[in-house]
Symmetry: D3
Subunit: 251 residues, 6 copies
């Protein structure tokens, strides 16, 4: 149990995922999102770009145009979000490179104040293979701080200090990623797989991220001991925490 | 909620604290111990030495002898453990220096298999001001691994892979200590203070560790946001996790 | 003794503190500033913002307006600087977020060349709770390098390579802060306390930073040995050095 | 000026260098030793081995025997120490490998209590090219802590907490060595060179360590600015500090 | 091309793998070993223990005795080594825990001098899940240094400074493992799989390490660019280098 | 041998060096460039600024004007490039500070696509003494990623993922520089020295970088063993690799 538990009359818990490209929330955090939705919570995805330049190689090779590609990626992401039970908001900020700007950060502050997140999901700080991911990380973290300040202008109420979870990058060992939280997503695995299959443009990643979930599941069991009655096939996602965990009990 | 929750008929949860000197479990983890005891759980302290040479300067200055000092420290520690609701087992392995040996590690394996811990508390890996603390850390972690192996000889059943929490050293910034878990100990603060006051030989630390609890409490609130209904004066202890957290929910 | 000692006819030594918000120089470096002033040296504070948005929550809650808040913070900071014996220059660059720009950096270069510092004080490189602090750090360090180059345009003489000291952030362990220098501020403690009490808007920090000074003083004594004739109650401030110390003697 | 300054009637300041092999104190700390001696201070070198196996390749190739080699290295080291103005004590603990043992550590404790050092010099923590150096480091640091404890048995008075300076290893970048103190040894350079030339068995290192002194001197000037009146040719040694500097003034 | 290339009349190149347990050389370095053997080179495996206590859980659960288990593991390892084209030497030093001793290190020195390795393979420095692996690493690296010293006693010629490659641990992200070399093992994959299938006691790892080879192969291609004519399915092993690469060409 | 070897009919291998100032490619990578040119390969230097403000102190002191200084530095760099056998392209982006901008990064993308590098050379990530170097590093790495994306607009074919080598900064230990590759430049040393001597404005660095080459050569031999038939005087340059090495053989 954590401090975050709210009395029965409060609004449902709220999760905000800030991601660089249209597919990121599915591959990297689809399980966490589906779990939250399955508990009746609200999940909002702030999708900063469509990944139209940097993560749509297949479409470009087929000769598609920029706007066409953006439309395809948008439609895929919307279907994947629906499958997971989440709402996705597109910022269309332009990828490759995604630029860190005060204006885009300010738009994120507005989202924070609107959705009042209890939990924030975003990219980790480093990724030597894709500069857009660290850019999204920096803006997600800066906007979270600004949104807490009563002196920062804008609509809506200030927020608290919601815990942040950074999801796994594509090449974790090269990105300084150490699994600090292993989340059991076995119960929602079918939902995550369904959402992945909405992303037809990146079909080669379906099995890749299935294998990753199996591997993180094995690791979860190795770190949990043999006695927990976990199912034979446990699936998991890994996260880092940039801020300390608040606990009422060590567990 | 975590995987660790057991069915109603299982034995109470078990915590094992492995510490170098007689006072360590009080100053550094007294709150966690008192919390566990207050939930009806079992807490066992494996106290490797009495701190008779390295942490009893006052007694030596008063001209006391080695055995006398050990008896005083033992008695103080037993009273403090009783105040917290825990059992303390003394290894009398000799401090300053506490040596890492296979024999002492083997004695720890036997304790692990006896108490079957769900949670392990111990010193962090580094402390440039006291070599006994890292020595205790290394043996606590190695014994935990050995106790998991069916092929390692000895009495008792093998154990699972209980999570480990490293408590705060005296000079945290010099010891690479980063608070990864902030544990709210407000509800058991009076008990911890009472246990600290059992340690008459180190009276100068009573207020020092009270101030630390206040400061970690301020930090807890700063990381939790204004909305949690925390009491004005929150007190806390800080821990590091050398192994990943296993979770069914991000919080 | 260090290389920095100057012949009797040279101008007094000069300290430059580059800080993000109006209160920073008091909480974090008030002792060092008061010590320098007490030796008859010149201290200049380059205060990049008033902390009007990010560190004036109480005033915003009371319904004050932006310009009003800036005026209050300015007045408080001027009184605190006077108490310490320093001159403060306000840049009014806007906080939350403080943006790193070539223009603001250039204004800092001009200050460096004007005050010709023998010592530079500023924020450390990291602070996950406040992005303005690292922004000030980056500009302080970059301007120091630019001001050394004869080819960089602007008024005034180029500077040498003054040593830099990074003062302590609010959550040191979370910011990678390791005390590398412990400065004995016992002799000027009353002055620092007086300066803190000029900052009425942040009354809750008065005792917090008093406790920190006590704690750093305890640490100073622990690292200095029992033989130095230090007073029972020693108070201290902690600093990091991003550049090597230049010494004529190891001590 | 530092806390270490003693009243006129106290004994001269004392430096203790703990080194693995017979030549180490010359190459790596000869300047610091000569400086201290030139100020009338006492310098004691605890030389744990003669480097008879690991650093005497030339003698082995010439067919010399173990005892013969030890005698040569001892004689060279004694002459070098005399040149620097220091006393050297040989432990003959056996090199390649130098083993970390409680017995050898205990002998070091006795030296600490005997010489009552104000300053400690030793190897840094890491050296992937020579395991004896980290072994000496670990024992030097552990003995320093044990010697502070009144409860640790043995002759002599307990010591304070003298600052420690780790001198430069042969391959600094591969050993995690970062120059934290650059010591100006220009005034005693001729003495250091003379001491190096006492080490005939390692003639190829004379110029190597001369070049290093030049390079560290250039770095000293680069970190000190153009205004200090340093001589054209400044020579320096580099050190790391595992413990914080205690200061009465930032400089 | 590297410096290691030898003239036509020299003996074949020699690889030495130092491993903690009987299966390690197969899972972690089977590809590198098979590649070397396929080039007609000599490969020697120094297998410090049979993994009889720590990695034979299945056999213990089936009620087998210690000597029986050691015999099984030995026989499996010999068949796997034969499949790869390597010779395995058993040290039977006892696992769980594998102790770092001067005697065992000395036995390794003798192997180094006997096989005169051009390449060394061993475990990386850290593994929080298995203390035997770091113990093997430390002895492998220390023996390599000792074997270079003409003054270290024993049979055989001294060795040069062969490059060291640390193979991948079971939980790479938790062990600080960063892939620094990705070795293409596609051509010998069938051989590695055959060797893995010799290890009947750890059948659950066959597919695990096949998946790992696929994943490292994907990573190899991602770091190599699309233009290299790599096969669709590339398989790879990952290694770290504790010492710098020596090169005649950047590639 | 590496994957990079191309069939006989392909174009010569191509090296791209991205540097901040006019002299950088000579001091830090002149050997690698001369080696590549000596093999008949193409080398292109993208020189972002002339170093007109930050690295031309002598000219400024002599009263020269900005455009004059730029002309001098250009002419020197062109002669040095010619001596090495490389082509240099000047961006004239303005130094001290060199600003990271999308426009300059885009110009670098165009160069990447034009020269289709097999190898990239650039500054390392950190340099606390010169902010232009890290700025060049960041743009070099980001442009390399953008140039790989078919969706990124511009002329020319997309590139693969060429390996990156970061050359040595002026103060390596202060910049986190660890030699990961030691390149033997003995065969082209005369050429590098000749190129250095084209840089009359920085005459004081000629010997400095000669000494560095000697020292890195000594280190190369220490890491290569005595058996390689290296010449008595080996000269070398050091590099870091931000991405893993791709290998067909461990060596």
């Amino acid at each position: 149990m954590t401090h975050g538990n709210a009395p029965a009359t409060s609004p449902p818990r709220s999760t905000l995922a800030v991601t660089a490209h249209a597919g990121d929330f599915v591959w990297r955090a689809g399980g966490a999102i589906a779990l939250a939705a399955s508990r009746g919570e609200k999940v909002t995805i702030a999708c900063l770009t469509f990944g139209e330049r940097g993560e749509s190689a297949k479409a470009w090779r087929e000769g598609k145009k920029l706007e066409e590609i953006k439309a395809i990626r948008r439609e895929e992401a919307e279907r994947a979000a629906a499958a997971l039970g989440a709402e996705v908001r597109f910022f269309d900020a332009g990828d490759y490179p995604l630029l860190v700007t005060p204006e885009l950060t300010d738009r994120l502050v507005a989202v924070y104040r609107d959705v009042q997140p209890d939990i924030v999901l975003t990219h980790p700080a480093d990724d030597p293979y894709n500069g857009d991911h660290p850019a999204a990380h920096r803006m997600a973290l800066e906007a979270r701080i600004l949104a807490q300040a009563i002196g920062y202008p804008g609509e809506g109420d200030i927020i608290g200090a919601p815990p942040v979870f950074c999801f796994e990058p594509h090449q974790p060992e090269m990105s300084g990623f150490r699994p600090e939280v292993l989340l059991d997503i076995t119960d929602v695995w079918e939902t995550k797989r369904e959402a992945m299959e909405c992303l037809a443009a990146q079909r080669h990643l379906w099995d890749y991220y299935t294998d990753l979930a199996v591997r993180r599941g094995v690791q979860l069991k190795r770190n949990a001991g043999p006695n927990l009655g976990l199912p034979h096939q446990t699936l998991a996602e890994a996260y880092m925490r940039p801020y300390p965990q608040i606990a009422k009990e060590l567990a």
